[in-house]
């Protein structure tokens, strides 16, 4: 055991003395620990996502659910950038656009299969993250927000004017996933239920990718890299002083965010089979950012709730016709008034697990410092010596 620990820590000149006592293992039950409860909640959510098509496989439901899942993926990516690393990004939709366009161009213009386009998408998103991140991440807060805003617009306007991206009308007829002779267009039969609609396949593909994406982002946030991100968010200079290369930490957050958005972009390109520059307006950047802030920055359940709210609320309010965006806006303001740190803040503790601070030991004669000692250090009595007298 000790040898393992020595291996895990690189050879360092100074090691801590052993802790005074071994802590008991923390509880792991569903209702006795936060971690257990969140795990159970996650499993429940995954089951719900898996079961949904068996309950209602209509084209409308499936397509709404798929776009909601894509929103979740986007918000998880932005959560890495904004929530964990604290870098305000107002042009996040640009990475979504890069992902969508790269997969669209590679499959239609170049005729690559979708899995090859996926690799190209990831490579392109990493590159885009580095290109945008490298020069701009030296900036702080407000300046970074302005630069990213500009980048978002540049990508959209470029897509609007290039020939290869199809100009304002975009790219049409993006093919579906296919594995050799078998393609998603054929339809299939699962557990005796026939799924003729291709939207259902996209739903399942999106569900798998998003579950992996959500778990991956959550795991990264808990490890060494995630701690570095959070340290940079809280205090950049202190993080640098603790041996964290803040530049690498920030650019890695940017790259992870870009890859997550690119995957979401590819899902959307295959889901809708057509993309146009209008889908990548600034409005969507703002909407995703709003979902992250609304749900609770840096909190996985919060961000998922926020993403679902932002993507589903306009649909659920469809009956109110032109009033729906007004109601949507009022709802948002109300939520932010009553839950300023988000619907499910990252620091939230389950109510039944909430601990109160241990009370400090009471002041007694035994712990009191004799007055003679108080005067010994520099000859003058310290103010503390008289503190008790006032009471």
């Amino acid at each position: 055991m000790v040898r393992d620990l020595d291996h895990a820590l690189k050879h360092v000149s100074l090691r801590a003395p052993a802790p005074r006592f071994e802590r008991p293992r923390p509880p792991r039950g569903v209702f006795t620990s936060q971690q257990g409860f969140m795990r159970a909640l996650g499993v429940g959510a995954v089951l719900l996502v898996a079961v949904l098509p068996f309950m209602d496989a209509s084209r409308y439901t499936m397509s709404i659910a798929t776009s909601a899942l894509i929103y979740v993926m986007l918000c998880m990516g932005l959560n890495v950038v904004v929530g964990y690393a604290g870098l305000l990004d107002l042009g996040y939709i640009a990475f979504f656009a890069v992902g969508a366009y790269i997969s669209g161009i590679f499959t239609t213009v170049l005729g690559w299969p979708m899995w090859a386009a996926l690799i190209a998408t990831i490579v392109a998103c990493v590159t885009a993250g580095i290109i945008i991140g490298a020069p701009t991440l030296r900036l702080r807060s407000d300046y970074l927000a302005i630069v990213t805003l500009g980048f978002g617009e540049i990508i959209r306007i470029t897509a609007n004017n290039l020939k290869i991206t199809g100009g304002p009308s975009g790219i049409h007829g993006i093919p579906t996933w296919s594995f050799g002779p078998w393609s998603f267009d054929d339809g299939f039969n699962l557990f005796g239920i026939d799924f003729p609609e291709r939207v259902v396949f996209y739903y399942f593909v999106a569900a798998v990718v998003i579950v992996v994406g959500v778990i991956g982002a959550g795991r990264l946030a808990k490890g060494r890299l995630g701690r570095a991100w959070k340290a940079v968010r809280d205090d950049e200079d202190a993080a640098e002083a603790m041996g964290i290369n803040t530049y690498i930490a920030k650019i890695s957050a940017y790259i992870i965010g870009a890859v997550w958005a690119g995957m979401a972009g590819q899902l959307m390109a295959t889901h809708l089979s057509a993309i146009s520059p209008n889908s990548f307006q600034f409005l969507y950047s703002a909407l995703i950012l709003m979902a992250v802030v609304l749900g609770g920055m840096g909190s996985t359940p919060g961000v998922i709730i926020g993403a679902l709210f932002v993507s589903l609320a306009p649909e659920l309010l469809r009956d109110f016709a032109e009033w729906r965006y007004l109601i949507f806006g009022v709802l948002l303001v109300v939520v932010m008034l009553f839950r300023p740190s988000g619907l499910w803040p990252a620091t939230a503790v389950l109510p039944w697990l909430r601990r109160t601070r241990p009370t400090p030991p009471a002041f007694t004669e035994a712990t009191a410092v004799p007055a003679s000692v108080m005067e010994s250090v520099d000859g003058t009595p310290t103010t503390d010596a008289h503190e008790g007298d006032r009471a």
């Binding site: 291996h7 820590l9 959070k230 809280d234």
Partner: protein
């Protein structure tokens, strides 16, 4: 005795203001050195130069045989590109590198990570020493679990070492000031330093906490770590330090054992001023 840290003719100018003006001193391995001086004497500026946060105008800082201040070729100065290049990490040593070499520091005003728990604050500082890859984190490999366990155990060791006895899961903002100071020192120690720079560690502490701090600093020295502290509390400095460097207006005015420094006329003048009526006579 070989010097662990060697500062030669350090000079730092902000426009027309000279914050540090030709400062030279050295720190030997495993000693406690105090840097004192009136307010605005350039103590913290010097600290920031040594730990790589500020880029000094001139001079050299050598830590453990490695130069922290790099010389910039004159052509870049002529082209006016020095700041740009240095902002990209060229011709300078970034503070995180200095920390990796084994120099840890604390800040004058507490700068803990406010949204992290006490334990996470300390584990964060082990960033550079932790063997934990990207894919291992994503896949939660056994190696990752071992590394996390080692990291947490080490952090607990440091928390126990500094005498933190509260709940490690609390957020640092929930702690009293004195405990936050302890956590900050534990966090600095978790980077496994050879030299620890403490910037006013006793500021805002009460008597009991100062006594505990002195015991802690002696304990840290006992580990073989050299400690350099900036402090205004003369009582603490005189009792703790083995050597004292006194600064005034960015210049070093005295360097020696506490007793000698106490009697140095230049030091008395810096702190108490000259008796003008006596001068006139």
């Amino acid at each position: 005795m070989s010097a662990l840290l060697e500062v030669r003719d350090l000079r730092l100018q902000f426009g027309g203001v000279t914050a540090v003006d030709g400062l030279s001193f050295e720190v030997r391995a495993g000693e406690i050195l105090a840097v004192i001086g009136p307010n605005g004497a350039g103590k913290t500026s010097a600290f920031n130069c040594i730990s790589g946060f500020y880029l000094p105008t001139a001079g050299s800082v050598v830590f453990d045989g490695k130069a922290i201040v790099r010389t910039v070729p004159r052509i870049w100065r002529r082209l006016g590109l020095v700041n740009l290049l240095q902002s990209f990490g060229l011709y300078r040593v970034i503070p995180s590198r200095v920390t990796k070499w084994g120099m840890a520091r604390t800040f004058q005003n507490l700068r803990l990570f406010r949204e992290l728990s006490v334990l996470e604050n300390v584990t964060t500082a082990m960033h550079a020493n932790l063997r934990e890859g990207f894919w291992a984190t994503l896949l939660h490999t056994p190696g990752y679990r071992r590394a996390e366990a080692a990291c947490v155990r080490e952090a607990r060791g440091w928390l126990d070492f500094v005498g933190f006895e509260d709940d490690e899961q609390l957020y640092v903002t929930q702690l009293p000031y004195g405990e936050q100071r302890r956590v900050e020192i534990a966090r600095a120690l978790a980077t496994s330093p050879k030299l620890l720079l403490l910037d006013e560690p006793a500021a805002g502490l009460n008597f009991n906490e100062k006594q505990a701090l002195m015991r802690l600093i002696r304990k840290i020295r006992g580990l073989g770590v050299a400690v350099v502290l900036i402090e205004h509390d003369m009582g603490l400095v005189m009792e703790l330090a083995e050597r004292i460097v006194v600064l005034n207006y960015g210049k070093e005015i005295a360097d020696g054992a506490p007793e000698d420094v106490k009697r140095d006329p230049a030091v008395i003048e810096a702190y108490l001023g000259v008796d003008e009526s006596e001068d006139a006579r």
